[in-house]
Symmetry: C2
Subunit: 404 residues, 2 copies
């Protein structure tokens, strides 16, 4: 078997943890597997480097930031190779140049284009564990690039795809993917399996286990992922195309508190108004989520939508700027203390009544629904942020997620 | 003019110093010069990384150590580019891969073989200051290598040669090359000029300003070096092939306290004994310096020689191991508290009496000479370490080195 194993920064934060990871990889190696390890920078190393850069130049170019940040993973992979070596197992560390991880040109947020596998295969053939820097690549100018948030997951999945690996294991500090955040829902249960699509919905809803790009890539190339804990030997959650038939309707409940609602009230009721509004926002890279349009009084209409709370100020500023021009309206209302709560499940597609059951759960505990959005495998509601815990527990209970 | 400027680790140890170096380079750039900057790792960064490695694996492979250490320079060059950028001057950092600094395969102590200049020339043409990682290279396996002690000086000289630079400036924390160590000889004077050969003799004698390999390379490729201070605007010392005619006989007095004397007494007086002795030492990488052979009593002979004090234990162990076998002798004597004091000067070659004058100076202050060694441009004596200061001042005075 060829196994790709990815460990995040906290898993290699100090000597003891580096040796833990080393032993874990050696276990697989000693069973006769070929092992490729992908690492992030140690602990808070990336933050330390960013702070150093900020001190020198708060507006440092992304090209130089990437040149700086990529040292972080290079340090962790070389130390890991030393650790394995001291445990008597031959290992070699490789950075993005040495592997040849080709990316697009965009610094700070590049996409992997192509990975050369020759060097890795050669090292594996000479019976070495191969340790690869996550998060980084090289563009056509021969410059370092970084892959943006969750980049090391993407590196691992891309490597697994390029190497036709038999398994791709993403190690994290939780036991796997849960039916809900265990910090909010006490009875939350670890899932044994989940589909790529469900994982994508959960990730975008702030479940925070895997980054969307890595899941998208895994789906595209059919890489079966395992999300598991680096702290214990629990089996983890398998992310794959299809899960077993007896699968329940709903896989999990997720919440996202990084949400805010904007209501633009009293817009002229004529064609092109919605287009203009969202076009202005898109031009300023403000992503809009749930949208609701309703007819107002006196031939006007109201448009409400949610944005990330981080983008709220920018969004309002953009709207205010165009208020006297192309975007005549009576009022712009803002609500910050709201959250999105969602149920996700591939089984939903073929089952009516799932949304109704969720709304019933919310009604039971007296939570008012402000907005609703659905996809084939997801139902999302916007509620007041203070009700999140109550709402999630009620939904979790209603779908008996803890009892499967 | 194309100028290569090299700054050591202390010159880029913190934000303030990084900006000092940045401003210094920008000064040259604004005069219309093309500027290439070579940097070492910041302050004690290399030591910090080595300590981290040692904690993980005290016998870490040199390949992985180089992978680890090369991050040090990459951090300093990227931060420097950010600093210059914030001062409004376009700059780009390049590491050994990006430049393409080809070296031999030996990790930890590689030699530069070839430097590609295309990328650097392109960046210079687009009016950027180019900042290059010192100390590092890439070997034929696409692995990082480091150049060993003084490696960043070598990088700077090699770059200056490859780019046909008009000047190569090595910045340090002293004003230039002195007639003697100013901490020992108060009246020591900075030299305006010195030849490559003199510099080589001084460096190997522990003057510690430039590393031998960089001077050898400068001589080979005719790169004119300037050694100057990063702390002030003093002119510094020019190192070149020939210096002006009115040049004095002796350029400087140097001392090396890292010396010990071994006397092997009562060896059989027959052919091949000296060969065997030094062959054993050479096989264990013990370098021998001054050698003295004398006839002993009863058909035996004595051989004395100096080694680096660091190598003393190893040398004695090697000799003891062969004492009963191929190396029969009566006694092995060791003297640790000795030092080498040397005068160096290209003018010596054509002038008799220089050595005698030095011996007179030592006689004047009652310092006993234990051994003598000479080259065309150097006279070295071995004396007791406690007399070093007295000896150096007397010699310095005798040759009126402070009055030129």
């Amino acid at each position: 078997m060829l196994i790709v194993k990815k460990f995040g920064g906290t898993s290699v934060a100090d000597k003891e943890r580096i040796f833990n990871v080393a032993r874990r990889c050696i276990e697989d190696y000693k069973k006769g597997n070929e092992v490729v390890v992908v690492l992030s920078a140690m602990g808070k190393q990336t933050d330390v480097l960013l702070a150093q850069a900020k001190e020198i130049n708060p507006n440092a170019s992304k090209r130089e930031l990437d040149m700086l940040l990529t040292t972080g993973e290079q340090i962790s992979v070389s130390l890991m190779a030393m650790a394995m070596d001291s445990l008597g197992v031959p290992a070699v560390s490789l950075n993005a140049y040495q592997v040849a991880m080709h990316t697009t040109s965009v610094y700070g947020n590049a996409r992997l284009k192509r990975i050369d596998t020759e060097r890795i295969h050669n090292e594996l053939e000479s019976k070495k564990i191969v340790i690869v820097t996550g998060f980084q690549g090289v563009n056509k100018f021969d410059d370092y690039t970084t892959l943006g948030r969750g980049g090391s997951d993407t590196t691992a999945v891309a490597l697994a795809a390029a190497l036709h690996a038999d398994a791709c294991e993403i190690y994290t500090d939780v036991d796997g993917v849960f039916t809900a955040d265990p910090r909010i829902v006490k009875s939350a249960r670890k899932l044994d399996e989940i589909t790529y699509d469900e994982m994508l919905e959960l990730a975008s809803l702030g479940a925070g286990v895997l980054h969307n790009r890595s899941v998208e890539m895994a789906k595209k190339y059919g890489v079966q992922l395992v999300v598991r804990s680096s702290l214990n030997n629990t089996e983890g959650t398998v992310v794959k195309e299809e899960v077993k038939m007896e699968k329940m309707l709903v896989s999990g409940v997720a919440c996202d508190k990084n949400a805010a609602r904007i209501a633009v009230i009293g817009l002229e009721d004529q064609p092109g108004v919605a287009f203009k509004l969202f076009n202005h926002l898109a031009r300023h890279n403000v992503n809009v989520d749930i949208i609701l349009q309703s007819v107002g009084r006196d031939g006007t209409k109201d448009i409400s939508f949610t944005v990330k709370e981080d983008d709220l100020e920018e969004a309002v500023a953009v709207l205010e700027r165009h208020r006297e021009g192309s975007l005549k309206c009576q009022k712009i209302d803002v609500e910050r203390e709201v959250a999105k709560v969602s149920i996700v499940g591939a089984g939903m597609m073929s089952n009516a009544g799932v949304a109704a059951k969720m709304f019933e759960a919310l009604y039971d505990v007296g939570v008012n629904i402000k907005m609703i959005s659905t996809s084939e495998i997801r139902v999302t509601v916007l509620i007041d942020e203070i009700h999140v815990e109550k709402a999630m527990n009620a939904i979790h209970e209603k779908f008996l997620l803890s009892q499967m």
